[in-house]
């Protein structure tokens, strides 16, 4: 009686364990696709499976425009003066001391932001080095005394109101540091083109063509 019961119970136990093992294996196999391993990519879930499509979110995001390659830099439209506003103006700050030049140009930029004047661009022109050569009393050979570097920064304003202009200029002039030159000019296409490097090979080829 006992061994029979024991066998039966043993068989029962084993069956239970088997089923448990099956379930366990099934749960394991279900977890793997969610973790996204490639080995199981051919294991497609059935659409009837309640968790089908779980984790999909791309359809919820707004449509993005397709990314296009960066186009060649085009020149911004140069605005012309109207009755009440000036056109595109270039405020050029230049001097020997880079700290002062940079700080002053930053000051101008911040002032424009505060006063509501639109700043189209703010860039720097390449530094120019000037060699100061001294000729001694005896002899004719000149030797280099010092190298002075001129730094230039440009702040481009687009819509300066004519009524605001005198006040703006006054503030600029009163806060001008020593040794700094300030110049306000109209922006022209020649100014824009001067920023680019010359391409001698291209120019040579163009000359050959024509």
């Amino acid at each position: 009686m006992n061994p029979v019961i024991r066998k039966a119970s043993f068989a029962l136990h084993s069956r239970v364990l088997d089923q448990a093992g099956l379930l366990f294996r099934a749960s394991v196999s279900v977890q793997h696709p969610i973790q996204g391993s490639l080995a199981f990519s051919n294991e497609r879930q059935y659409r009837t499976m309640p968790t089908h499509g779980i984790g999909k979110y791309k359809h919820l995001l707004p449509k993005e425009a397709p990314k296009k390659k960066k186009e060649r830099q085009q020149m911004k439209q140069i605005k012309t003066a109207t009755d009440a506003e000036y056109g595109t103006l270039n405020v050029k700050v230049s001097g020997y001391d880079m700290i002062l030049v940079e700080h002053y140009s930053q000051y101008i930029h911040n002032l424009c932001n505060r006063l509501g004047v639109k700043v189209a661009e703010s860039y720097a022109l390449p530094t120019k080095s000037t060699e100061v050569m001294v000729m001694p009393e005896q002899g004719t050979k000149m030797y280099v005394d010092a190298i002075l570097k001129t730094h230039e920064r440009i702040v481009q304003l687009s819509q300066l109101n004519a009524t605001l202009c005198p006040t703006f200029m006054e503030v600029l002039l009163k806060n001008q540091p020593e040794g700094i030159q300030l110049s306000v000019k109209l922006h022209t296409e020649a100014d824009y083109q001067a920023r680019f490097k010359a391409r001698p090979e291209l120019e040579g080829l163009m000359a050959q063509m024509t």
Binding site: Y86, T167, M169, G179, S183
Partner: protein, 293 residues
């Protein structure tokens, strides 16, 4: 107020190019401003409004300012802070080319004086001795610095007269002129009466140029006036036609002064000193547009 204002509003803006240089102290002690106006379009005269004789007399005045030539003196706090920042930057900075050269040269000297000096090896490394070492250069520079005499910051140690343009170089000064208005001679900003057919800015320019014994070259910054002062004449003078006067102020900067400003009629004053010369109601209006920068 119909006539002059409308004409001013309709005047198209002239494109301007200004070039301002601020270099060290020169003889004139005045900043040079050059203004090149490109195509100042002709004033468009709109359809004439009816010329109603307004009971106010119009004047155009100019607030001529001399910009500061040197920077202002620092407060004690600013001084301390500047020193602190300088110290911090010095401690954080790296060695420059010149300083590196100095170090290398001194090391080379010590190695030369050591016993086991191999001159062939040294020259192979450094490619021959340089004739001028960094230390020599520094010495020559120091000599030059000793010869250099910077100009004095404060020229009015002896007390320059108030009429001189080269007063307080660190502040901006305003020109005051003594004129007879009505029955009294008072100090005020140079003004002239408006005549028909000209804009108020031209009136102001005329007022400036008609000053006796002076010729200030001024640059006007814009067509818009910066302030108005309105006053009524005392009752005896008042008639039906003219009740009072309105003075429109325009701002201008001195670009090249003349040296004949030792005479009495002129006065260059700071904003804080205006109180001693102008009448209170006048001062109130003028104070509003003079920036104390």
């Amino acid at each position: 107020m119909a006539a002059p204002c409308s004409r001013m509003a309709s005047r198209p803006i002239c494109q301007f190019i200004t070039n301002v240089r601020r270099t060290g102290l020169k003889h004139t002690g005045v900043r040079q401003i050059s203004l090149g106006s490109a195509c100042r379009a002709a004033t468009q005269t709109r359809s004439k409004t009816e010329s109603v004789a307004s009971p106010w007399k119009l004047y155009g005045a100019v607030c001529l300012q001399r910009l500061p030539v040197i920077s202002q003196e620092r407060n004690p706090i600013e001084d301390q802070f500047a020193e602190l920042m300088h110290q911090m930057e010095l401690e954080r900075s790296l060695l420059s080319d010149h300083e590196q050269r100095l170090l290398e040269d001194s090391e080379r000297m010590t190695r030369k004086q050591a016993d086991n000096y191999d001159s062939d090896e040294e020259e192979a490394d450094y490619g021959g001795q340089e004739t001028i070492t960094a230390q020599d250069q520094e010495d020559t520079w120091e000599q030059k610095l000793k010869h250099f005499q910077p100009a004095l910051r404060d020229r009015d140690v002896g007390g320059t007269p108030l009429g001189s343009v080269e007063r307080c170089l660190g502040d901006s000064l305003v020109l005051l002129v003594q004129q007879t208005v009505g029955k009294e001679t008072i100090w005020l900003l140079p003004q002239a009466q408006w005549e028909a057919g000209e804009t108020l800015r031209q009136t102001a320019e005329r007022g400036l140029s008609s000053l006796p014994e002076a010729d200030f070259k001024a640059t006007f910054l814009g067509n818009t006036p910066c302030g108005v002062y309105r006053y009524k004449f005392p009752k005896e003078v008042r008639t039906e036609r003219c009740v009072g006067a309105k003075v429109f102020f325009f701002k201008a900067f001195l670009s090249a002064g003349s040296a004949t400003s030792q005479n009495e009629p002129f006065l260059w004053v700071k904003k804080t000193e205006l109180q001693g010369y102008l009448k209170p109601p006048y001062l109130e209006k003028v104070d509003r547009f003079i920036l104390n920068l």
